[in-house]
């Protein structure tokens, strides 16, 4: 229950407070980072339940009439849980590639669904910048987590 409440708090944080961390109007995706860390520390089933709970809420408030976040975040949980058994994820390089792949997949999938539903294909600086911001945030958060 505590984790669900914390996940909900992260969503509210992402919706209002994240703007204070924005760089050129691009905000770090704290929800994705939270789900990655959650999956690294928990079982697949537990992580999946929380990821679906939070993604459904996110999709409900989004203007896109497709459960885009539920699918991408579910995939992220499955991907991270399969990777975590094979690598020592404390390594900076593994962290970088993990968040790079996770964010890239997230971006590509959302870009594809948006293209299918709206007919607009748009690749701009926002994509690589968001990957970089996500990596930095993930790195800082995981360092804090390890220190604790």
């Amino acid at each position: 229950m505590k984790t669900y409440l914390f996940a909900f708090f992260i969503l509210v944080f992402q919706m209002y407070v994240a703007k204070f961390f924005s760089i050129w109007g691009i905000v770090p995706d704290f929800l994705t980072i939270f789900i990655v860390i959650l999956t690294l520390k928990n079982t697949v089933l537990n992580s999946l339940k929380i990821a679906v709970f939070i993604s459904v809420l996110q999709d409900l408030i989004s203007p896109i009439s497709f459960p885009i976040n539920t699918i991408t975040k579910g995939f992220i949980v499955l991907f991270v849980s399969s990777v975590k058994q094979r690598f020592y994820y404390s390594s900076g390089t593994v962290k970088f590639f993990l968040i790079l792949i996770v964010t890239t997949v997230d971006v590509c999938f959302k870009g594809f669904i948006t293209y299918v539903s709206t007919g607009v294909m748009d690749f701009m600086y926002i994509y690589p910048v968001s990957i970089l911001i996500n990596f930095l945030t993930f790195y800082v958060v995981s360092i804090f987590y390890e220190i604790r």
Partner: protein
């Protein structure tokens, strides 16, 4: 007997001596002078302690006074910050009121932005006005005199606004100079695009794209400026981009056009 007389005499001489000693001014002066250095020293010591005590006392009171002044200063600083915030808010609301005066035939509402899109892919905001305030799905939302978006979800106390920069945002519009009717679609925070623009339509770079005034949409609200126009021979439509430059995180208040009066 002789001894007794001698003792009485000695006693009388002693008493007489004491009386003489106390009645004689010279002896008193000498005694006074003898006491002077002692008294003076005692006085100096007392003065020293008194001054020291006063010094510590005054220092304590000064420290206390200083702390009180610091507290007052901090309160005043907070007050100034609050006043500055109110001044900015006041200016913004005045600007909104000026804008509202331009549309007397419309029922306008003012709302505050209370939430933003949780990711970088969908562009929407949440405002603190809902169906209780008369907000309906499809109402036009304006900020800073420019079209900001359209209401797409209405709750009792809050609503979601899909922004002009979102790919799901589509609206019929027209060019201010040439009066050509066009369809605008959002693309990203920097630009949108005009769709279904036929090759014979007169669309020029620098032309302002504004709302067309059809239905409950007010006319003449600017959306953006035409940034580029290109046409590949053989295609059905022209490619037209419109610059927006929209940062939703800077928006605090919005005006909602909730139908004609």
């Amino acid at each position: 007997m002789k001894k007794k007389h001698l003792l009485i005499l000695l006693f009388l001489v002693l008493v007489g001596g004491i009386v003489f000693f106390f009645r004689n001014g010279q002896f008193k002066e000498v005694t006074l002078d003898a006491f002077y250095p002692i008294l003076k020293t005692a006085n100096v010591v007392e003065e020293f302690f008194e001054t020291a005590l006063l010094y510590f006392k005054s220092q304590n009171s000064l420290i206390e006074e200083n702390q009180q002044l610091h507290r007052k200063m901090e309160l005043l600083k907070a007050h100034i910050i609050q006043l500055k915030k109110l001044e900015i808010e006041n200016k913004e609301l005045k600007r909104i009121l000026n804008f509202i005066d331009k549309y007397p035939e419309f029922d306008l509402k003012i709302a505050r932005v209370i939430g933003y899109s949780p990711d970088n892919w969908s562009n929407f905001i949440i405002i603190d006005a809902g169906s209780f305030d008369g907000i309906k799905k499809g109402d036009i939302v304006v900020s800073d005199g420019f079209l900001l978006g359209q209401i797409y979800q209405v709750g009792a106390f809050s609503s979601s606004v899909v922004l002009v920069s979102d790919k799901n945002f589509k609206i019929s519009a027209r060019c201010r100079k040439t009066r050509e009717f066009v369809f605008f679609q959002g693309k990203n925070r920097e630009e949108g695009r005009l769709i279904f623009v036929r090759p014979e339509q007169d669309i020029r770079i620098g032309d302002v794209i504004e709302t067309d005034g059809l239905g409950k949409v007010p006319s003449g609200i600017p959306i953006g400026v035409v940034n580029s126009v290109s046409y590949v021979e053989g295609n059905f439509y022209k490619d037209v981009t419109v610059s927006l430059n929209l940062n939703p995180y800077n928006i605090e208040y919005v005006v909602i056009f909730s139908g004609r009066k």
